[in-house]
Amino acid sequence: MTQQSEELDQIKSKIQEHLISSGNYDIINKQLKLQLYESGWFDKVSQLANRELQDNSNQNFDQLFSFVKPKAEELVPQKVKDEILEKIKDYLEDIIQ
């Protein structure tokens, strides 16, 4: 691992730990989940995975996952991405000196 990615991991690790211990991860996570459900994203991804499995029933979890993952990420409504990013930024602003 390069030094840069090591440093990045360290920062990530600190942020992850702080988000969890402050209870904010739970709150933001639930908000994200609810928005993803409400926008119909969950149902769309469900259908996507099901259709893919119907067309190619001979695949394992790994293969299905690598097919669905990029499409699912793309399907997330921009509005949801922006809102949750805002919440995380607000939270970080409070804790980073």
């Binding site: 992850q16 730990e17 211990s21 709150i27 639930k30 609810l34 769309k44 469900s46 394992n60």
Partner: protein, 557 residues
């Protein structure tokens, strides 16, 4: 189309939902379930709880060989440890140390969990989403660096446990795997009750797999003359996972109903063999084993319903909501009749485990605040559905459409009582403020939008066509007791989230209207039932439809 509802005098036209006539409901004690859920769906030890489907995941050859080897016991012990670490920390539970019984704070517990779930190679805990190796203490991440996979490659440690769902993952197979012995451990630790499944040989020898069509239960009902009000409601039962589960396990009724066993010489329906539960059981049997998609003619149910409720006879269009209440009443009284048949004592409604009560029963708390002494009197009443006013409703967000939350806000808002109220604590006869909140929410939340208005002056009915936006997922947190509607408007309690799965829509005018129903299957696909025509519809079309009755099912997040 006017329907009778119980009205409490002085509530200025706001009707109070209650279980309709026929079901006696003594006041429920205030020691109802505090977590917002009806207890009987979990406490009935005979019902198979419809938990997650992970128990159906098959073992792979690698897993089978481990469980047949000497390493089996060690593997199970390590697996049990791994699942225990994955368990989410319950804020209600008090944790004590095994060493000395002292209380361990949640904060400390969380810290310990975070530390144990850090990836061995990069120290990221990934919000407790990592893989714990089954053969050594290694913890590996799978996003970004994928250290879990690298660990497998370097050490040939084939298995790891997913710290979020507690399932075992097999790296060479690239699949999650499971086995009844593992599932027993996992379900006990993560869900609190162990799911036992019959062994494979019993299944293989006694059953053949049903066709895909039968499994989906997708069928229309032939319209036998303005019967769409019945067929719409029936579809909401057929595609309701909780009711479906109960009818798939309906042996108690089937073998103890004297009407089922009665043979009638003339073949006609009468007192000896008319039973709604039996008729609907029959419909479930046919829908879920049929290999054709032709429409179903519900003559048996129709005749039974006419026998049980004379007002249903005739070919006029009736109110779907009234029919829904009628069926719920029948389920309950049939259940009481069966209990009597098998010699059991009748139980209080609050503990009744009939289909109606386990699926739809909740509690409403009514708070009345005396304006002179500020004391609040709370009463709890049972309910099976919410009837929401939509007349004169304006959106809380100007410029946007009215949505269901606006209706719920109105329902739970403070209301000044017209009639003078005698306060129980200060004795004054004063004005009072009343508000409603949900004390416990049933697994299936049913909502009626009051679209039909009865004009008493000229004895006519009219329909309110106001479009109301129905959310695909409903957050009921702020309407539950213990929460303030304004302060907690954005709060999310994972147990109070509900998923829309059925809508009954009325099209046309009051007297010449037609009902259609939309339901969602387990894969997120919506279907439209227009009598015998079943078609696929998009999510967008569902959200644009003007609903009359909506049904939500619990979906914890």
């Amino acid at each position: 189309m006017s329907s009778s509802r119980k009205t409490i005098p002085g509530t200025s036209g706001k009707t109070y939902p209650g279980i309709s006539n026929g079901i006696k409901t003594p006041p429920v004690s205030s020691n109802g379930s505090s977590n917002g859920f009806h207890k009987s769906i979990h406490s009935d030890s005979n019902s198979l709880s419809p938990s997650d489907n992970y128990g159906d995941i098959e073992p792979c050859s690698h897993l089978k060989s481990v469980l047949e080897s000497n390493a089996k016991e060690t593997a199970l012990i390590t697996y049990k440890q791994a699942v225990t670490i994955s368990r989410p920390i319950d804020p209600q539970h008090i944790y004590t140390s095994k060493k000395d019984g002292s209380v361990v704070s949640h904060h400390k517990l969380l810290q310990r969990k975070s530390n144990s779930l850090k990836c061995t190679d990069c120290s990221l805990n990934n919000f407790h989403n990592n893989f714990t190796c089954l053969q050594c203490p290694h913890v590996g991440c799978f996003n970004d660096h994928n250290h879990a996979y690298t660990h497998y490659k370097l050490n040939q440690h084939v298995f790891a446990t997913d710290s979020r769902n507690g399932l075992l993952y097999c790296f060479p197979c690239g699949n999650y795997v499971n086995h009844p012995q593992l599932e027993k451990i996992r379900s006990e630790i993560l869900t609190g009750y162990s799911v036992s499944r019959p062994t494979d040989d019993i299944i293989d020898s006694s059953y053949t797999d049903p066709s895909g069509l039968a499994v989906s239960g997708l069928k229309g009902f032939v319209n036998l003359g303005a019967t769409c009000f019945m067929s719409s409601i029936l579809q909401t039962f057929i595609h309701n996972p909780i009711i479906k589960n109960q009818f798939f396990n309906n042996d108690l009724h089937y073998f103890n109903c004297e009407k089922n066993l009665a043979t009638n010489e003339s073949g006609l329906l009468d007192e000896t063999n008319a039973c709604i539960t039996c008729s609907i059981d029959n419909i479930f049997q046919l829908f879920f084993s049929s290999n054709t998609n032709e429409g179903f003619g519900m003559t048996n149910l129709l005749t039974t319903a006419w026998y049980k409720k004379k007002s249903l006879a005739g070919f006029q269009e009736q109110d779907a909501h009234e029919f829904w209440q009628f069926i719920l009443n029948e389920f309950h009284s049939d259940y009481e009749r069966i209990r009597e048949n098998i010699g059991k004592d009748p139980v209080d409604s609050s503990e009744c485990t009939c289909i109606t009560h386990t699926t739809f029963s909740g509690e409403l708390q009514s708070s009345i605040k005396c304006l002179s002494c500020s004391s609040i009197t709370k009463t709890i009443d049972p309910m099976v559905d919410l009837s929401l006013e939509i007349n004169h409703l304006k959106s809380n967000h100007p410029g946007s459409e009215i949505n269901l939350y606006d209706c719920l806000d109105l329902f739970t808002s403070e209301e000044k009582l017209d009639v003078m109220y005698t306060c129980q604590s200060c004795g004054d006869k004063t004005k009072a403020i009343k508000s409603l909140k949900l004390k416990s929410i049933p697994p299936v939340l049913s909502i009626q939008l009051k679209r039909f208005k009865h004009n008493s002056l000229n004895d006519s009915s009219s329909k309110i066509e106001t479009p109301i936006k129905i959310p695909l997922f409903l957050n009921m947190t702020k309407y539950a007791i213990g929460h303030d509607a304004e302060e907690d408007a954005d709060l999310i309690d994972g147990d109070k989230i509900f998923e829309l799965f059925a809508l009954v829509c009325h099209i046309g005018s009051v007297n010449t209207g037609h009902y259609i129903v939309l339901t969602k299957d387990g894969n997120g696909q919506w279907y439209k039932f227009d009598d015998s025509v079943v078609s696929l519809v998009s999510q967008e079309e569902v959200m644009r439809t003007n609903a009359y009755l909506v049904f939500y099912i619990t979906h914890k997040i």
